[in-house]
Symmetry: D2
Subunit: 315 residues, 4 copies
């Protein structure tokens, strides 16, 4: 069943296994004559890439993006934009024993049952590496949305990394993660995203409410387990006359009746701790916390939802 | 933009304004030869209907379902199933002044800006009455899923009604709601849904993960503001080696890598307090808490996601 | 599998069996604030209806359209427009023996094999009566396209009825059909449609070329067996330097590279002779030629394609 | 607007401009564990490639296919299959003056109006080179359909090349084309396709009739101007009692009520003469007849429709 596409007007289709030849995306529905900003794309890719610090996973993902179509003389053509990165440093030998021993916390076993086989090279499509295609696409969505609405900005930040509330002192965070790495521990966390300058009137009344498209988008990222907008779960305990008189971004998250109000949109998404900490194969190279890398992925999904709804336009 | 359909294989398209002639749904993709259980449909409609108690909204929604197509001699034909209910007790005069004064907490103003007009008869599509179509469709999804997998059950319950944790004593709850009615207060709450007997292997790897389709489905219901599955936001503070060794429904919510594991699926959804408490027009007839009526709607969406993925089938 | 929808932006979903309670359509994607012209709808329905003359089928299809949603105070709301007609004069007893004897030239047997049953009441969805939903939808597409581009017109005419080339003298045609009725003969024919005033630039480059969407639309009508645009099959024998220097509507049919040129679009569609002539059950009431009733159906499909592409708009 | 995808279950999305870096396709919905037959893919590519004879266009399209994803250890993974070919021998300088002078018979001018620019490098997406992606996809559809139904075969042949009826003597055809090349003439023609062994029951009742999906598929190929199935336009003049008693492939084309009957499916598609004969830039290198190269493209589209409907399956 086709299930690798997202969006209605700005439609992305992603492809690639974590240890296959390449990962990529085809964007169908990008308008013509949008300035294609290669620097912006590079910045997005750099933000997603595991950093150079001692904390992060040992895999070196250089990820030079190759544009295969849809861009000519620095502008989009209105034709499909295909982009890919090669998988260079695959180390699939690390994953050889997945064939025999499905990893705890991963989906190897359910995939095997579903597809009658498992691509034992590091999780195939279920790998975190799949997000590289989302970030490429998100970068282009950013270019489009920025051109249609220059005042829009989207910024994600971690509010929690495991038990640590943020902002913490920079040193405290680094020590926390370093200790986790050494001690063989891993943590999830919470990413909060603030979308500003989003025009009033985006979102459709029933099944493509702006909030439900956002929920769908971010809950499609691996390891997510919760989504809330505005007051979120806090709204469940509030009393109505008080709640609604305090209306505004804090309460409604910039969306009413499924439609953007023009106020800032604020949502939060929670991530589970990485299961790779349990992998013998990754011993000493496990990722103690995926949150830093998850932030650009969540932002990318928000840009994709935004570009899609900007193109859906006002009725 | 078409945005009134949900699903990929079991596709529903809903129609109808809260004060127009009728509300209904067309289901395209229902298999042939499914026993059409009119009693089950009636039970669903009865659960959604505002009850006969003194607490609930004064509007009497009898909602006799009329089957327009797709069912013959007690079985589905494999052709589109169209169903509708007439709007009888519309009292649209109550809403006449919305034309002039958009209601606080409702979407009247953003709809007006978006569509260049507003159906001032009670919110049009943005009304809670729109859920009647979801429940009709959910009842049919229930029939289909039950026939494909007789052991499946889906049960929702309120875990919170405003500040009240449930289960509380029945009297305490009734008194709480009665007082809210009298005092002109309203409350949201949290609905927890447990899906048992769901076969292993449902869900698609990337953009139609079972969890993201569930999130999309329930966050498309009006007044929802949060969704979590399994450990949810709690997972954000957990440590990985502990979290993943405690694996199971509590932690993963019955889904790994976006695919059902065969364990029970548990998710929660939060609702804001009803804004109708602020309506002068509804004075003395406001709904102090939508949770009791919301439970079957959330369940209906879960059945819809389930039927859709059962039909998508194993690869 | 869902297969009862047509269109990308102006999406119609049809429902109803020829002898079930009702036939109808839901239109999702119709813009708000379009004047809903009930007279125009009535004219469309009248053109499709079997006429009052002695020639046509005895079935009296009055077909009063009921608007269920999406229209308010004479205008479209931007919400789904649901419309239906009741089946009044069903005479399903006429079809009782289909249960035992599949009709020659009909699809009763293949449907039975496919769905595991057959709705023996006159062909179910495969009946010519299904076109009533297309005509209702086409009438609304007409309203939309007319408002977006007032200069557009679409006119179909028969160029052939069986062996008879048209225009023939009116008397000759009537005598021909009368004789066919009496003699138990039936004929197909060719409908030519001319679309004028269609703006330049409609159609998408690869899989939604304007010509392929037209072909898809008209070949989805029952009994069609051929489609050609512009020079059609005649182009196959032409020499290129001559053909392309005579460019224009005659040759290209108003479409180049899949995109409308602004010139008139001309296409032709052929229909098989009605198989109902073989039905013992219809003895004396068979339809000697479906072409007169087919013309508005073909036109309706052309309006649907046009409205869809007008809403897709320029890039 | 996204318009570069085709299919419902076996969904292809094509990308690439004729003179951009690469052309390719992503197939979403291919089942897992299908044997990936590289030899078959090569045979398809060889058939589409302009031959080595003196007659054909000078452009040398070697077109080595690179598999980017979805295939592992000789089998499909059930994940998206991405394939591409590099554009090597682009000679875009040949097309430099299109920027100033739109070519007669091509779509340069309408594309320019639509997209606000024109990719002046040989027609961009509107080039015949776009068909390379269809053929790659068709080869995989062939692998899938063959594995699901080994007895299926699809064979296309030219019945007409310009005024020449085929089969003609091989020498006569070669002389005809050679003369056309020398004399600066070009011809279209008719391709007839015969699908044998297609199981009974494929096709959906209303908008995805097997015939309308075929029409849609082949009319999306550039330069097509007509489609007919079974008796085609010939049915328009036939009398019904005679026509339907001669039922069978000749008459119905293997499809009744939109659904395959199990008999051979026979359809024909007409092509216009190539307009490139008018290009000064292509002087001496023009293609006198596209039919030989068109045959595998038409077949590829037939395999795609077939694979799609085989996966849609019986209800």
């Amino acid at each position: 069943m086709p299930a690798n596409s997202f969006g209605q007007r700005f439609v992305i289709t992603t492809f690639g296994e974590s240890h296959g030849p390449a990962l990529g995306v085809v964007i169908d529905g990008c308008p013509a004559n949008i300035l294609f900003d290669h620097n912006l794309l590079d910045q997005w890719m750099a933000r997603r890439r595991p950093g150079a610090s001692a904390i992060v996973s040992g895999r070196n993902e250089e990820d030079r993006v190759e544009i295969l179509s849809g861009v000519f003389e620095g502008k989009t053509l209105g034709t499909p934009i295909a982009m890919m990165v090669r998988n260079k440093d695959a180390r699939s030998e690390d994953y050889a024993d997945i064939k025999i021993n499905p990893r705890a916390g991963h989906a190897d076993d359910v995939w095997h049952d579903k597809f009658g086989h498992v691509d034992h090279r590091g999780g195939g499509r279920a790998s975190g590496r799949e997000t590289v295609a989302r970030v490429m696409a998100g970068a282009v969505a950013h270019m489009v949305a920025r051109e249609l609405c220059p005042e829009i900005s989207i910024h994600g930040r971690a509010t929690n990394i495991g038990p640590l509330n943020l902002p913490a002192e920079q040193d405290a965070l680094e020590q926390f993660l370093m200790a986790a790495k050494v001690d063989g521990k891993s943590y999830g966390g919470i990413v909060e995203v603030r979308m500003e300058g989003v025009p009033r009137g985006l979102g459709e009344p029933v099944f493509h409410k702006f909030k439900s498209d956002l929920a769908c988008a971010v809950m499609s990222i691996g390891a997510t387990c919760s989504f809330e907008i505005g007051a979120g779960f806090g709204a469940a305990t509030a009393e109505g006359t008080i709640f609604h008189r305090q209306a505004g971004e804090t309460q409604y998250g910039g969306i009413r009746g499924g439609i953007t109000t023009g106020e800032p949109i604020v949502f939060r998404v929670a991530f589970k701790p990485p299961a790779s900490v349990l992998d013998v194969a990754k011993k000493g190279r496990h990722d103690p916390c995926i949150i830093p890398r998850a932030i650009p992925v969540v932002e990318a999904m928000a840009w994709l939802v935004l570009a899609d709804h900007l193109l859906l336009g006002k009725k």
